[in-house]
Amino acid sequence: MISKSRLREVKKSLDPLIAFQYIFSYFYLILFLLLPIATIIRQAFLYNGAFSLHWFQKVFSDPDFFSLSPRGGMFFELHGDTMYIWGIDHGYILNSLIVAATVTISASIIGVIAALIIARYDFPGKNVFRILILIPMLATPFVNAYVIGKFFQPRGGLLNFIFYDVLHILPWRIDVNGLAGIALAQTLAFYPIVYLNVLASLMTMDPTMEEQAESLGAGGFKLFRTITLPLSMPGLAAGATIVFIFSLEDLGAPIGFIGYSGNPLARRVMSVYVFDDFAAAVTGAISPITSAIAVILVTFAVTGFLAIKKYVTLKTYATLSKGGRWKPRTRKLGFKGMALVYPFFILLILSASIPQIGVVILALTDWAISGLAPKSITFEYISRLFTDPNVVRAISNSLLYSGAAVLLAVILGSCSTYVIARSKLPGTDALDSLLTMPIAVPGIVVAVGYFLFFTGFFRGTILDPLVDPALLLIFAYSVRRLPFTARSVFAGLQGVHESLEEVATTLGATRFKSFFDIVIPLIAANVIGGGILTFVYSMSEVSTSVTLGALREDRGPITFYISQVIYGTAAVGTVSVAAALCLLLITVQVIALAVSNYILKQRVAFLGI
């Protein structure tokens, strides 16, 4: 009886529009997300044609991958007049975990403090800080770590020069590099993710929650620990986990340090291992050990993701992000408070903006070859963006891929979220999970999966990355930030009351007609916001661009070109061209931010968090 009525329900839901959207969404996500990952898992667990843990045993018994005892490295070791802060090597797997954990904790502490101050206090200049604090989110792939390396270089590095050679404040020169360098660069790059998520939680928190607690006698730290922090947990958990996953999959910081100093410890993380092996893939194969490492990476990321899944699926996100009708509680900051807050923000923003400042200087001056400080301004590198055929090709590749990815992401995002929001078909919850899943899949894993799956099953076709990686890059871009794109569209759908469509159907409109007459015009801003988000993201995407993109040099996008330069395959001086490309990416991002903010009135769109 129940199943019969369920069947009727399904039959009613399955009008042509929903049926198409449902099938398209599943088809796309299965083909471009699930199957590639399944192929990695298959290879990792296959030995001599049978299921086996062989590759995992091999990995975990090899101290190169996993070693509880230290295998060298320098952590606060003084040699001569230089303090070396490089980190200790525990093998690829533990190194990645230690770096990710360190970054997560330090980014969380910075993010929470910054969010609390911004959300709860008023002080002159607050709005300036609010904007400046987001500077690290501006994309400077690879160059960021290069710049940090340049700052911290023991001899000739600006920081050591100022504080050791000139001011004599430091007792020794400081050399931050290797794993510690990666952790530092990532912390400075990722803390805004925690900051933004916690800030959102704090701003949407009903002020009476805290007022009630205060009226009962809770104040100060007690109030924070018992009310404020627990209530901002969704934001903190989501932000921290995203940072953890981003750190695990990050290629930009390690490659930046490798490129700048060739530091061996900067190589010792899982993402770089996979990247290096991928470089050998041009010959046509990826080793099962790499697949095993990819599976381990995904396992860590998915574990983190499952811990916060209840906060990040579309449906829960929608309920979390509601509210905000009230004015959040703010207090005027006293003199003592300001004496603490200003130095905190100024120090934070200055150090976190080093990469972006460095990028600007590198792109517009001769700093790359002038040594300590830049000597003259030049527009040579900027002009190379329009004249150097390799650079022009990289830019036009990126524009083409990103444009196509936007189109696909927007269609996929609208279709899948509409099915989730409106139909009662079985499998919509699974679709919601599937849409959110790309958060937990490191880009490098996507690349390996695409390589294995599409060279394996589509060999010699246009989908074979060895033939042409362009299409796969487009698909990878469209899938990788789908959770955020979909969220933007879903938020729009939440604002379109179902009765608006129902009344159209009572007037004779089919679902198809009401979707295009009513729904699409009403969610247009969100769809465009989601599209902008995908575009910005695709332009600066790193992981798949520098792996799949490397399979055919003439198909490489911007970030691939930058990585080539930083990794050392291009001639000296061209790091400035890489910086000029970063400046281009930053410009795209800032324009997107402006459009989202002032035209579409959507604050979150460009950040994608």
Partner: protein, 350 residues
């Protein structure tokens, strides 16, 4: 116009039964209301008739044609939603014209029809406004015009007045009634406001927990409620428990030491436990001929409500609420004697 028949309609949402084997007929041209507390299933029933929900069991007929499996867009109903569901990206004109455009009515005819219907709901001149530029009452009328312009066989109204302020609600109520009579369109109305239901409806279905408790004219459901739920939901009541002592033209019930005569709605026999339902307005201080239906007790609470006196009197069998002329001499803590005519006393089997 159309006659609507529901046969055994059932709809569950998980464990909640929103419509529980509903069977009833709504006549051609009738103003029919589903009345009940929130969550009773009245809106679900309306949505089942509109084709916005599919029943788990049962059939829906329009003029004896089975429309159960027809999608909403084929049913030709006009519907007004509680929130009006006006499309914010369209002007008043475009909102109203939408159904005509779907029906591929020629442009010139659309213009004249929209003009006509906007005059009908007294909104002429507002064609180019957007919904957010209208008052609540105007929005409500646009929603109504949009439903009416396609000349539906059936008009469905889901609490259309509940978002308006009290004064406007009463005005719109009268307009709506007048419009419905003029057009003669079969209308199904959903509300939780019993006064609204009474004023508007030819017949009312009272719903509770997905079931239809009673269908009848406003008088019937007020004067002859078929069970305690209907009796207490419609109008204000005092309910006392007693035992039947005699049956004749009327039924005689003993409540504690008081003898009460009244009209039994269901079959009762001597010795049965029954509920005695009393309406505050039926009481007076005028003495009846017989020594029955007299209640005497101490005034426990009283209040003046403009021309009337409301009082709660503690009697031996419980408490009763009475509404009396405010010139009646009564005061807190003092005894008061009240009477109620036996024809107004409702007796329900417990």
């Amino acid at each position: 116009m159309v006659k609507v028949s529901l046969r055994n309609i059932t709809k569950r949402f998980g464990k909640v039964v929103a419509a529980d084997h509903i069977t009833l007929d709504i006549q051609d041209g009738e103003f029919f209301t589903f009345l009940g507390p929130s969550g009773c299933g009245k809106t679900t029933t309306l949505r089942l008739i509109a084709g916005l929900e599919v029943p788990d069991e049962g059939r829906v007929y329009f003029d004896d044609v089975d429309v159960t499996d027809w999608p909403s867009y084929r049913r030709g109903v006009g519907m007004v939603f509680q929130n009006y569901a006006l499309w914010p990206h369209m002007t008043v004109f475009d909102n109203v014209a939408y159904g005509l455009k779907i029906r591929k009515v020629p442009q010139s005819e659309i213009k004249s029809k929209v003009k006509e219907v906007l005059e009908l709901v007294r909104l002429e001149g507002l064609e180019n406004r957007y919904p957010h530029q209208l008052s609540g009452g105007q929005q409500q009328r646009v929603a109504l015009a949009r439903a009416l312009v396609v000349e539906p066989k059936l008009l469905l109204l889901d609490e259309p007045l509940s978002n308006l302020d009290a004064k406007l609600r009463i005005e719109m109520r009268e307009e709506l009634k007048e419009l419905q009579k003029r057009l003669g369109i079969t209308t199904i109305y959903v509300t939780h406001d019993q006064e609204e239901a009474m004023v508007l409806s030819d017949r009312i279905a009272i719903m509770n927990n997905g079931r239809v408790e009673q269908v009848g004219t406003p008088q019937e459901v007020y004067r002859r409620p078929s069970n305690l739920f209907v009796a207490t939901f419609i109008g204000r009541t005092s309910v006392l428990e007693g035992v039947v002592t005699a049956i004749g033209d009327f039924v005689e019930v003993k409540i504690s030491d008081i003898k009460v005569k009244g009209v039994a709605i269901n079959e009762v026999s001597v010795g049965d436990k029954v509920y005695v339902v009393l309406r505050p307005h039926d009481f007076s201080t005028r003495k009846e001929e017989e020594e029955v239906n007299i209640f005497e007790g101490v005034v426990e609470w009283m209040a003046f409500t403009g021309g009337l006196l409301e009082a709660r009197i503690g009697i031996s069998g419980g408490k009763i609420l009475v509404t009396l002329d405010d010139e009646v001499p009564a005061s807190m803590g003092k005894k008061l004697r009240v009477f109620v005519p036996w024809r107004n006393v409702i007796i329900l089997k417990a």
